[in-house]
């Protein structure tokens, strides 16, 4: 059967409007879905992003049911929202909750370019889709869904027309499960003792033999933004958090200038930019 011939025949016909019930549900659900999507990308807290995505997915699930896809609507709510988003929340709670995004941009103008790209992509997609479809009359799925036969007809389609991809997806799921098992496996049988760990540290297997210096140690102030000092008086670069470092080095530069050389002799409490002579050990 030729879909394009049928569509061409209807091209001159009046565009079919949907029932008012469906229109009402669309105008309630679509802003919810869009709001959830925007909330997801703008929320600073990752768990809030996940909850906004759940809102979007639930509204999409109801939209599927309104659009004569009841099976997909239920699967969306039960499987996609109920299983996959719960898995996301589990992993967020375990891993990503603490690492909220900083506002410091890594690439300059990244947000501006992303916004421009987004507007361009939206424009391309919307114009491509909208102008061609103003003359199309939807056929609707009334006969496939008659008497609750939507599930049966989808089942028939999956097991007869699309049997091979279906078997392939079962192979995909087994492979995914095994891949995840391999990645998640931890070998708890061999734990290194404290002596072995110390030996490894001094043999150079890690970045540094000693723990990182905490902020504010041996400095003149007790704040997270003040760096620690090394034995020769210079600043320990790893002692300030990466997020704060941008401000600390700028602001401290003037302090260093004013304090450097003011106190005679080596003083571990002075803020010196670099060691000119040996300081206190």
């Amino acid at each position: 059967m030729s879909n394009s011939a049928m569509l061409l025949a209807q091209a001159g016909a009046e565009v079919a409007k949907v029932s008012t019930g469906e229109a009402i549900s669309f105008w309630i659900l679509a802003p919810l879905a869009l709001g959830g999507a925007l909330g997801m990308i703008f929320a600073r807290n990752a768990v809030h992003s996940a909850m906004f995505l759940v809102l979007t997915m639930l509204s999409l699930g109801v939209m599927y049911m309104v659009q004569q896809a009841p099976f997909l609507g239920f699967v969306q709510i039960i499987v996609y929202t109920g299983a996959i988003m719960m898995l996301f929340l589990f992993v967020l709670m375990l891993v990503g909750r603490d690492s909220s995004d900083s506002v410091v941009e890594v690439l300059r103008g990244q947000r501006v370019w992303a916004a421009i790209l987004g507007i361009g992509l939206a424009g391309l997609l919307v114009t491509g889709v909208a102008e061609a479809l103003t003359s199309v009359r939807p056929v609707g799925l009334a006969e496939q869904n008659a008497g609750g036969a939507n599930v049966a007809n989808i089942g028939r389609s999956v097991f007869t027309d699309y049997l091979f991809p279906f078997e392939l997806t079962s192979a995909l799921l087994i492979t995914a499960a095994l891949g995840a098992m391999v990645l998640g496996y931890t070998d708890k049988s061999k734990r290194r003792t404290q002596r072995e760990t110390a030996d490894a540290r001094f043999r150079g297997e890690h970045d540094r033999p000693s723990p990182l210096p905490g902020p504010g140690v041996y400095a003149t102030a007790n704040s997270v933004a003040v760096p620690a000092l090394l034995p020769d008086g210079s600043i320990a670069p790893e002692s300030v958090s990466a997020i704060i470092e941008a401000t600390a080095s700028r602001e401290l530069a003037t302090d260093i200038e004013t304090v450097a050389g003011a106190i005679p002799g080596p003083d571990a409490h002075a803020l010196k930019p670099a060691a000119a002579k040996e300081g206190d050990k």
Binding site: N3, A132, L133, F164, P165, A180, V182
Partner: protein, 474 residues
């Protein structure tokens, strides 16, 4: 109506899948499986084309010349990958059973992709190829670089899948079918939904562009090759790329043929930019595996070039045959290079080493050095690397046939640039051995791997007509 299943047609991927499961428990099940699948391929080679899982006249799984060529090349490359991985598995204590399972699962997905003829099968098999590779790249769990490479590759890959799926949904909307031949038939008739299909075609092209690492979708490749085990990098560079090209050619030539004037110029631009960027950046690389990554990006540009000439009105079958011929020859050349670099590493570890680490290889391991020089000459397209020379000739012919002279000129320029870094590497092999440098013994599996790749490339140097001139059956 329930479909009939032709088990001989789906035999090779099915055997690989079953042996993947067996490889979790039995030691040599992977190699037995590869040999059996190869035997299945030989049986299929002697018969005619087979079609199975059909709905009326459109079939989901078709075994024709195109499929057989790609499946054979993938099997040989897969055998080389498994052989060269043996040493690395043992020495870096990777989980052997799971490693074999993941490689064989990805390989069976790649073989299925070469045979799929409807969009659902193509998408699902592309996922079956990709998911095990994510796990393989991140397999060295306690190495930060490995996990980082895995995350980068994963995020880029899922974004590309989403883009491709959106394109597929638009194409489905415009044509009403998911089978490639029916889509081609519907797109050939004029309809008011052409712009929808056009946007869909562009998005599908973008999605496949990620998989074949064409510029500007290439940025995951160098870091991923460097962070993963060398065998996995070889798999990515050869089998994953061949699967991506198989899918791309099938979709563009069968389904989107009526839109050749839309996607042709886009593919031409992608090809030109990939070649140029890949070659120019490869000139600056000092690490062997990053050089190979950028060289793979440039080679993807050469492979895309004939398809880029599709807008000129040349018969698509010839252009597709040029691309697939190059893919087949490239697969064996490149996997040979990876097999050879797996014997050189930083001190005590694997990873391919820096280019200067290869100086003097010819003094202690003459055969390996000659093999590597042969592979590099093939990649550059110089005699005595006749296989590579024939491959380059074929893609040049295809591009000129389509009337895209400017693309052929860019390709010629890039071939010259490529000569610089391939030859610079090859000459290091024959330099005098620096003091105090010792190359270790070559383990037997790696030697066999290099031998297989060398024999395959040599065969294609002598009888290239085996792999050239094969297009999709349509």
């Amino acid at each position: 109506m329930v479909q009939t299943v032709d088990y001989l047609a789906i035999g090779p991927p099915l055997i690989l899948a079953l042996s993947a499961l067996a490889a979790l428990f039995l030691r040599h099940a992977a190699f037995v499986g590869l040999v059996l699948a190869g035997a299945g391929e030989v049986v299929l080679l002697t018969g005619g084309p087979r079609r199975t899982f059909c709905v009326d006249t459109s079939c989901s799984f078709v075994v024709d010349d195109f499929t057989l060529l790609l499946q054979t090349v993938m099997l040989i490359a897969g055998l080389v990958v498994l052989l060269m991985a043996q040493g690395e598995i043992r020495d870096t204590r990777l989980p052997a059973g799971e490693f074999h399972f993941l490689i064989l699962a990805a390989l069976s997905g790649a073989m299925t992709l070469a045979a799929g003829r409807d969009l659902v099968t193509l998408v699902v098999s592309l996922e079956v190829v990709s998911l095990p590779v994510f796990a393989l790249v991140a397999l060295r769990r306690y190495d930060g670089r490995s996990s980082e490479a895995g995350v980068k590759m994963f995020l880029v890959s899922v974004v590309s899948t989403a883009v491709m799926l959106f394109g597929i949904s638009l194409v489905y909307g415009a044509t009403g079918s998911l089978f490639l031949d029916r889509i081609g038939a519907v797109l050939a008739t004029p309809s008011p939904l052409e712009s929808v299909a056009g946007v869909g075609v562009v998005l599908v092209l973008a999605g496949f562009g990620f998989k074949v690492s064409a510029v500007p979708f290439h940025f995951w490749a160098p870091d991923t090759y460097q962070g993963s085990p060398v065998a996995v990098a070889g798999f990515l560079s050869v089998i994953s790329k061949a699967a991506g090209f198989a899918g791309l050619v099938l979709v563009l030539v069968i389904a989107f043929e009526p839109f050749a004037r839309v996607w042709g110029p886009l593919v031409a631009v992608l090809a030109a930019v990939s070649m140029t960027a890949g070659n120019l950046v490869a000139l600056r690389q000092r690490t062997a595996i990053r050089l190979l990554a950028w060289s793979s990006i440039a080679q993807a540009g050469y492979m895309l070039a004939p398809l880029g000439a599709a807008g000129g009105g040349a018969p698509l079958d010839d252009l597709a045959a040029a691309t697939i011929g190059y893919v087949a020859i490239y697969a064996l050349m490149n996997i040979g290079v990876f097999a050879t670099i797996s014997v050189v590493g930083w001190i005590g570890r694997y990873g391919g080493g820096e280019l200067d680490d290869y100086r003097g290889l010819a003094r202690t391991h003459p055969l390996v050095a000659v093999a590597l020089a042969f592979f590099l000459a093939c990649l550059a397209g110089l005699p005595p690397g006749l296989a590579g020379l024939f491959a380059k000739i074929v893609v040049f012919q295809g591009t000129i046939l389509g009337g895209y002279g400017w693309l052929a000129v860019i390709m010629a320029g890039n071939t010259v640039i490529g000569l610089f870094y391939y030859l610079a590497w090859a000459t290091r092999l024959f330099a005098p051995l620096p003091d105090g440098v010792r190359f270790g013994r070559i383990a037997r599996p790696v030697g066999v791997a290099i031998g297989i790749a060398a024999v395959g490339t040599a065969v294609m140097s002598v009888v290239p007509q085996l792999v050239l001139g094969i297009s999709t059956g349509g």
